[in-house]
């Protein structure tokens, strides 16, 4: 089975995000960069399919030079090879631009199943997997917590508001991973050593026949709106404090 997993390097969830003074982006200094957690579920699932059905796992990532670290992490987990799309013209790519670059790279290799995280925790756009599926003209199974493949059929569990769906599709397809799909493995030390020798092909837009274009542009970034200072309800008696809180919620905030 030819398995592809797309990964993105993002700031760690514990990272403080500071907007640059001119609102043009975030301050990157001091940020710890990690693999997008949702992509990790995708990589893990890709490795499990390889263990079950044989074949190989190709990691594809669009990102600046530092993104190679994330590709190496996936290789250390057990993936076989990588494609790193590194082109400064794509640094501000929107979801369509990102998906176009990934699609161009994936079109050039055999692919039975493609994993993406359901969203990246930096821009939170959640569109890339679906656009990629459209550009590759394959079905999509998005935000899923369980995947089963039998022959050419894929069955997936997808939580929706108030229910879970069992959806069936066919290979090839794009699957976007939700938390709960699996527990990603850690890279072992021998894995990390081996990863250094695994092949990673570096490509730019020209090599993929693409020019970067962002249809959706973040024109300005701002810190989140400040919340007004809160009230601490003081006292020694929990019951009394609870009573006061209930009253405030009812009469002041009017939310109950």
């Amino acid at each position: 089975m030819n398995i592809v997993a797309c990964v993105k390097q993002v700031p760690d969830t514990e990272a403080q995000i500071k907007v640059k003074g001119d609102g043009s982006g975030i301050e990157e200094g001091g940020i710890k960069w990690v693999m997008n957690p949702y992509d990790e579920f995708g990589v893990e699932e890709a490795l499990r399919l390889k263990e079950k059905f044989g074949g190989d796992v190709t990691i594809v990532s669009l990102g600046p030079a530092r993104a190679i670290e994330t590709i190496r992490t996936a290789l250390a987990m057990g993936a076989d090879k990588g494609i790193h799309i590194n082109d400064p013209a794509f640094n501000n790519a929107d979801a369509y631009g990102t998906a176009s670059a990934l699609a161009a790279a994936i079109k050039g290799i055999p692919h039975d199943v493609i994993f993406c995280g359901q969203r990246a925790i930096d821009d939170d756009s959640g569109q890339v997997g679906s656009i990629l599926a459209e550009l590759l003209d394959v079905p999509q199974l998005t935000i899923v917590t369980k995947v089963e493949i039998e022959g050419k059929n894929v069955k997936a569990v997808k939580p929706i508001e108030g229910a879970q769906l069992v959806i069936q599709g066919t290979l090839p397809c794009v699957i976007t991973a939700q938390k709960g799909l699996n527990e990603p493995r850690y890279a072992s030390l021998p894995g990390i050593m081996k990863a250094k020798k695994k092949p990673v092909e570096v490509k730019d837009g020209a090599a993929l026949g693409l020019t970067a274009e962002a249809k959706a542009q973040v024109v300005k970034m701002t810190p989140p709106p400040a919340r007004p200072p809160g009230k601490i309800i003081c006292g020694d008696d929990p019951a009394q404090k609870a009573g006061q809180l209930a009253k405030l919620l009812r009469e002041e905030a009017k939310v109950i």
Binding site: T13, E14, A15, I17, I26, Y38, A95, Y96, D123, D124, S125, G126, Q127, V128, G129, S130, A133, E134, L135, Q140, L141, T142, I143, K155, K158, I160, E161, G162, A163, Q164, L165, V166, I167, Q168, T170, K179, A214, K215, A216, Q217, V218, V219, K220, T222, P223, R227, G230, K231, I232, P238, A239, K241, A242, L245, K247, L249, R250, A253, V255, I256
Partner: protein
């Protein structure tokens, strides 16, 4: 020239979802800001879905394009994206809105691909500036916000559920039946099974009130304290990543950067210290209450009301007090 403000209505099993009214009202506001353009809805579903069109008219929709086709119920990506893209391409609207619900997230990305355009996801504010859409959306799960402009048409945006008001504004709503243009061979996924959650449970992303428990709950058996409070408030129970990772609560209950990003009217955090990834997921709530025995817990920085005390003493009393008030 691209004209009109469109939205894709969302229905499930023949019932419009609340987000559809939020979309209609928001589309109306944008259309009026553009000098009175037309608001059009795309309504897709099985036989009989046409009867829902008039409800969209009540919230400011001028025209509803309805496709009824057995392949459109239940929702599948291929069927809905094909039908929606077809009618949108024929009419060339300037703006196209969807809900950032589970279904909207699946459909909107596919439509971005089919229409080769740009989209701002999960917006908390949309407005018109110089005749174009300007969308405001949380990024990094709300650690910062971005203003997004879209250079191509239609300018797409998905709206975070529960943030935009649904305002009645009745219009003489015209219904236009359309052909979904579907080929059964090109609908490549199907829904095999729907496993419904316990009746009456409102999803975290749609809840008006959430009562959440974190590490301070000390174990899964203690969530009964929170469930009782949630019961009297009609609230949904949530959890922090620590509680989910400890196996105390299911994944679907997690609020935060790697869980659900929520915006209820009232968020009650019990025994949650307020790790940055949790704060990111709930700080767009209208009112935040923190109950925690550590006065230094970062959650108090975000709280409108705080009680520094043992949650096991405070929460049961709060349940009693709320019961009294609502009696």
């Amino acid at each position: 020239m691209s004209k009109g403000v469109w939205f894709v209505a969302e229905q499930r099993e023949g019932v419009l979802r609340k987000i559809s009214y939020e979309l209609a009202s928001t589309a109306r506001k944008l259309a009026d800001a553009l000098g009175g353009e037309e608001v059009c809805a795309v309504l897709l579903g099985g036989m009989g879905v046409e009867s829902l069109a008039s409800q969209l008219g009540k919230y400011g929709t001028d025209k509803v394009f309805v496709a009824e086709n057995a392949l459109l119920e239940p929702y599948t990506t291929d069927a809905h994206a094909t039908a929606a893209a077809k009618v949108v391409k024929e009419h060339d609207p300037a703006i196209l809105l969807l809900g950032a619900s589970v279904q909207g997230k699946d459909l909107s990305g596919r439509l971005v691909g089919k229409l080769a355009t740009g989209m701002a996801t999960d917006c908390t504010e949309v407005k018109i500036a110089d005749g174009r859409l300007l969308a405001v959306r949380p990024m990094y799960a709300g650690k910062c916000y971005g203003e997004v402009a879209i250079a191509s048409n239609p300018q797409m945006a998905s709206l975070r559920p529960n943030v935009f008001p649904a305002i009645e504004n009745a219009k003489a709503c015209q219904v236009v039946k359309i052909d979904a243009g579907l080929d059964p061979g090109k609908v490549r996924t199907k829904v095999l099974e729907v496993q419904k959650d316990a009746a009456g449970k409102v999803d975290l992303t749609e809840a008006n009130i959430i009562v959440s428990g974190g590490r301070g709950m000390k174990g899964p058996e203690n969530y009964v304290v929170i469930e009782e409070l949630a019961g009297v408030l009609g609230a949904t129970v949530g959890a922090s990543r620590a509680a989910v990772d400890a196996g105390w609560r299911p994944q679907s209950d997690q609020v935060g950067q790697t869980g659900k990003v929520v915006s209820p009217n009232l968020y009650i955090a019990c025994g949650i210290s307020g790790a940055i990834q949790h704060l990111a997921g709930m700080s767009s709530s209208k009112y935040i209450v923190a109950i925690n025995k550590d006065p230094e817990a970062p959650i108090f920085q975000k709280a409108d009301y705080g009680i520094v005390d043992d949650l096991f003493k405070v929460v049961p009393e709060l349940t009693k007090e709320v019961k009294k008030l609502l009696a």
